[in-house]
């Protein structure tokens, strides 16, 4: 079974800082990681291909530095990787992003049996890209998958959706978006990263390679526009109490009483 995993390199959440004067994101000194759920997708793909045979191809669209994410995936065991990078791709919304990814996937030979995405990314957090790739490639989709079994030429998958535990049979080729609990994520074996970085097997495709016009991708190919960025409404400004456990307990009890969660009467009677 040949599997494609769509991975995105995202800023590591704790290191994001905002320039509140200019309302922009400070890009310097931000660590990048592979989107956590994409890592789950990768592990699931490797697990499936180990059992069923076939190749795992990882694919990412992003600035040239996204190659790091691909190298990391190669270190963990992916067979092939494709970097989709082009200045023309910058500023893509999810419609344009899914267009580029779908086009690239459709040019893989052979066409994959299975495409895996994360259910959502931690930076743009839309969860749109997976279903939109499926739509463009006319693949059936199942979202939020946390269990996968192969049966004949179909997959039987499980997922939790709005309080229902669904068991779904889906024909291949298909696209799944995966979520927590599907597969444990392993640490990268020592030395494997170095080897992966010395290999030269990251294929790079730009807009021309994918026969995409500038008008279909990037900012020009996007239909959503960000009008403005603004700070969220002010957070609660609460009181912070430090001190001995007894001090903390006293202020906690006082607060519970003030909120009438506890009855003051009870205490006096004691």
């Amino acid at each position: 079974m040949n599997i494609v995993v769509c991975m995105k390199q995202v800023p590591d959440a704790p290191s994001i800082r905002i320039d509140r004067q200019r309302m922009t994101v400070i890009r310097e000194g931000v660590d990048s990681i592979i989107n956590p759920l994409d890592y789950v997708a990768l592990e699931a793909a490797l697990d499936l291909s180990k059992r069923e045979g076939g190749n795992v191809t990882v694919i990412t669209m992003g600035p040239p530095q996204s190659e790091e994410a691909l190298r990391e995936a190669l270190a963990v065991g992916a067979d092939r990787s494709v970097l989709l990078t082009d200045p023309a791709f910058a500023g893509s919304d999810t419609l344009a992003t899914s267009h580029v990814l779908a086009r690239a996937i459709s040019r893989l030979d052979p066409f994959p049996d299975l495409v895996l995405c994360g259910t959502q990314t931690i930076d743009s957090d839309t969860g749109h890209v997976g279903p939109q790739i499926a739509e463009e490639l006319d693949l059936p989709q199942v979202g939020g998958v946390n269990e996968i079994h192969l049966e004949d030429n179909s997959l039987v998958v499980k997922r939790l959706s709005d309080g229902f535990l669904d068991t779904i049979k889906v024909d291949l080729p298909a696209l799944l978006t995966v979520t927590h609990g599907l597969c444990p994520v392993r640490d990268i074996p020592l030395g494997a990263l170095e080897i992966a970085f010395s290999r030269e097997d990251v294929v790079t495709w730009g807009a021309d390679d994918l026969k995409l016009n500038k008008e279909e991708v990037g900012f020009e190919g996007s239909v959503s526009r960000v009008w403005k960025l603004r700070p969220p409404p002010p957070k609660r400004k609460g009181e912070l109490v430090t001190g001995s456990p007894q001090t903390l307990l006293d202020s906690l009890i006082r607060k519970l009483e003030a909120l009438s969660v506890l009855d003051e009467e009870d205490v006096r009677r004691e």
Partner: protein, 337 residues
Amino acid sequence: MKKMSGENRDFDGVWVLGDYRNYFQNRVTLQLISKGKALAQKLNTKVSVIVLGEQVHQYAMEYVAHGADVIIVAEHPELREYQVETYTALLARWVEDFKPEVFLAGATSFGRELFPRLAKRLQTGLSADCVALDVDSETGLLVQTTPAFGGELLADVVTPNRQPQMATVHPGVFHERPHDPEAVGRIIYPELDVLPEERVRLLRSRRQQTRSINLEDAQVVVVGGRGLGSKEQFGLLFELAELLEGEVGATRPAILPEWAEEDRLLGQTGKSVKPKLLISIGTSGALQYTTGIQGAETIIAINRDPNAPIFKMADLGLVGDATILLPMLLEALRKRL
């Protein structure tokens, strides 16, 4: 108000997806009808709810009672189960026929799976998990406010040149209108042509056992996170909840080692709560979690790290070791009973 000019003139009406499957737990459709009505007023148009299913008349009536002007119903055995591909095909055709200018859905699991596919088929824009919606008075465009950069900023997004302007909306941010049995609305059954999806088959679907966990309606919620360190420590929360007549919630890292059932998960991938009091213990305050607790009237946080982000949204923050404080609190509360 002036309507948009040019190519957009043909599009008219605010649509809401009738997501009735969890009618009794998740009232997001009712919330969207109410918000949709406010938007429709500004756009000088009507709010319609689109209901797809097998026997959905009762929901149609309910949506009218909650303020919908029009209900557009598709009843067909193939529509009984929520199914992304079948629903997409039908909705895309109806959008082309009826040409709504706005189409909203709740950011439920299903809404977040269906709407991206539909938006792609219609080649229009979509915002995810919006926390505010408005109509811009100059352009008549739908302003879709969505959290950006891990919630550090809010982004106002518009779809200037495509219709309909689509958004999924976070449950709980808008308020439903009261049930009005006298309300009148039109229910229409347009012609149907349902294409069954052969490639995806639902073999089984069972409602997760909820064991009467009713976090959404609880007045007091105590939440534990990774900081509690063990299943035993986490277990103390159940006693605390009982003493305070509340419910127990959990963050993702407390669910993974099975300190608590998945049903207790709060946050973006879990439930949203709106209790009078929420006590958050040993949680750092990641945005994916705090989106689920924003509706709490009062938040008390316990964390040993004075810089934990959770303190930024707490009304009372206690800096200390929860594993020491929690047994002391239980002791004190037991004494009072």
